[in-house]
Amino acid sequence: MLMDFDYFRELFFSGLTRGAIYALIALGYTMVYGIIGLINFAHGEIYMIGAFTAFIAATIFSILGFPALAIIILAGVCAVIWSASYGYTIEKIAYKPLRHAPRLSPLISAIGMSIFLQNYVLLAQTSDFLPFPALIPDFDFMEPYAHIVGSTDVVILATTTVIMIILTFIIKYTKVGKAMRATAQDRTMATLVGINVNRIISATFIIGSSLAAVGGLLIASHIGQINFYIGFIAGIKAFTAAVLGGIGSIPGAVLGSVILGLTESFATGYVSSDYEDVFAFSLLVLILIFKPSGILGKADNQKV
């Protein structure tokens, strides 16, 4: 019986960790959707590029002989800088010219961008799985609990929590955050009161991409390998989480991610690990069919 409870706890924490990482990616989807109503299909690729950049940076710094903590921080900074730059650039090329196009045009453009970026990394780097260095050390003080929750899990949960608090602060209290909320509510009105909407959209992409980069770094060092295709699955799952929580809602994205992470963890632990991705996809299909507005989202009525 005790064994069973340990197993349950193990699944619980691994689900929570998954959820935390999904949340970092899901926030990017939900923020972009909230502002311009677009499913940024290429967002998973931003996360993948973040993981690759972190991998490259971490390897270089470790060859140069930097201490472990410095490597993590520097790799994280590089991942954030480049992912944010990619996010910014993608918006300018593939979405901005389509601001007034029919709804499906930017979505198709986003799919194209996603395919392009995958193959760009495939061609410029490799199609093989790359072993990602275990950047997060095992802490001594965690030793007694190691059979339930690993050090990486603790670091991921702690990092995610801190980032969520910072993000909430930015959105609630800073000028950019207020402008974002205004733009999300009514873009025309926001323009009229003097908000530079283009700049706010760019800021949204930059923030969302930065979060995805952190997610890329964390998950890569957690799982221990990356390849050019990781963005696709992670992207769909994070999108599922965002929809589950109610797309456009920031607490919703976090809630949805945690629920999805736990569901996946328990389903693979108790049912079957063969169908890991099927659970997520099925959940996505079911939510969209039965409650497309999600748990915390508002139903949207089309205006006549």
Binding site: I39, I56, A58, W82, G112, I115, V121, L130
Partner: protein, 400 residues
């Protein structure tokens, strides 16, 4: 002019920075080696310098075109449109194409016949998806699932019950259409972008189930020894069988064009286009939204199912790896590149996207990269595709 150069220069510097880690550095974390590929910086900078000029130039052109349209200036039909709309030229052109298709196997090698057969399969897939995406405006990202249903119906029905190609052909189509209806009933209520994601999820579920449910589908190793299409029980040599499959595909293409063309100009086809344009107005005209969408969705699935059967028979081996999301994306690219809603456009799109990479072998690894770029570029610069769909005009004889 000078500001243009400066803008391009800034863009190329920005991209040099942007692509720096991915393009320039290549590390090996086990052997602890770093490889610096500095030449790539030069390629990127030169390439982006010109691309950014082209980008801004094309964007400006598009704006000018939009301005013209708004002022109501008549836009001239392109030469291709004049060709396909002119009654005599149209017949001559079609006959010439058909003659070429008939003579093709006598002129080209088996290898090339095979490639052309594949291209023709994509023509039909493109035309099928065109009903769903181009006419009815339903973005289906899981189209390949229906294709898989067709392919696996033939493989499994043949394996277990020994059913032949011709017997399964309609069954495969109908099964795919039934899948389309079953999926369509719950999901077609959804808004366009959600529909896209749900169909994508559905496509992946089908593939994952095929991969993991070994007892049913033989898992990732797939099913082999699927018989080629039969010809009244005549035993055909491999070469003859390939040629025969090619001619079958030509017939399929002709039949599909014929039917899709008729659908497009029918009461149903008009309803699809109206639905694509404005759902609310469409309902206000008394059109049942769900029913109309469902018909488009299941008809598209039907065609995918038929070609799925054909695919299994042509390659004699199938496994789940043939039915990934990228396959759906490729078919979508064909429709988008060719021109949503335009039959000639879709045919051209399929031939370009399938044949070009085959004949430019050195470039074939860049194929998916180019697809992705093409999707973005088409949406940004030419959303109507290479050949836009021109609505039929009617002449009314007032004396009647």
């Amino acid at each position: 002019m000078l500001t243009e150069l400066r803008k391009s220069l800034i863009a190329s510097i920005w991209f040099a920075f942007l692509t720096f880690p991915i393009m320039v550095i290549k590390v090996n974390s086990i052997e602890k080696t770093i490889q610096w590929r500095w030449m790539n910086v030069v390629y990127v900078m030169v390439g982006i310098f010109f691309l950014s000029m082209a980008f801004r130039f094309l964007l400006k052109q598009k704006e000018m075109r939009a301005g013209k349209e708004e002022s109501g200036t008549e836009i001239k039909l392109s030469p291709i449109h004049q060709l396909i709309n002119h009654p005599t030229y149209r017949v001559v052109f079609g006959a010439a194409l058909l003659l070429f298709a008939v003579v093709y196997p006598f002129v080209f090698s088996t290898y090339q016949i095979n490639i052309m057969t594949t291209a023709l399969m994509y023509v039909v897939l493109g035309l099928g998806l065109n009903i769903v995406v181009g006419l009815a405006g339903l973005l289906d990202l899981g189209y390949v699932a229906f294709y898989a249903v067709g392919a696996y119906s033939y493989a499994l029905l043949n394996h277990h019950f020994g059913l032949g190609f011709w017997a399964v052909l309609p069954i495969g189509g109908v099964l795919a259409a039934i899948f389309g209806i079953l999926l369509g009933i719950p999901v077609l209520r959804l808004r366009g972008d959600y529909l896209a994601i749900v169909t994508l999820g559905f496509g992946e579920i089908i593939r994952l189930v095929l991969e993991n449910w070994g007892e049913f589908s033989k898992g990732p190793s797939g099913i082999s020894n699927i018989p080629r299409p039969g010809l009244f029980g005549i035993e055909l040599s491999l070469n003859d069988a390939i040629t025969y499959t090619y001619y079958l595909m030509v017939i399929f293409v002709v039949v599909t064009i014929f039917f899709v063309n008729r659908l497009q100009d029918s009461r149903l086809g008009r309803a699809w286009i109206a639905l694509r344009e404005d759902e609310i107005a469409c309902q206000a005209m008394g059109i049942d939204k769900m029913k109309t969408k469902l018909i488009a969705f299941s008809l598209g699935a039907f065609w995918a199912g038929i070609i799925g059967v054909m695919f299994a028979a042509k390659t004699t081996f199938i496994n789940p790896a043939s039915f990934t999301f990228l396959e759906s994306a490729m078919i979508l690219s064909i429709v988008v590149l060719g021109g949503m809603g335009s039959i000639v456009g879709v045919i051209l799109g399929a031939l370009i996207l399938i044949l070009l990479p085959e004949y430019l072998r050195e470039l074939s690894e860049y194929r998916m990269l180019a697809f992705g770029a093409a999707l973005v570029a088409m949406m940004v610069f030419r959303p109507q595709g290479l050949i836009s769909n021109v609505r039929r005009t009617y002449s009314i004889n007032k004396d009647e």
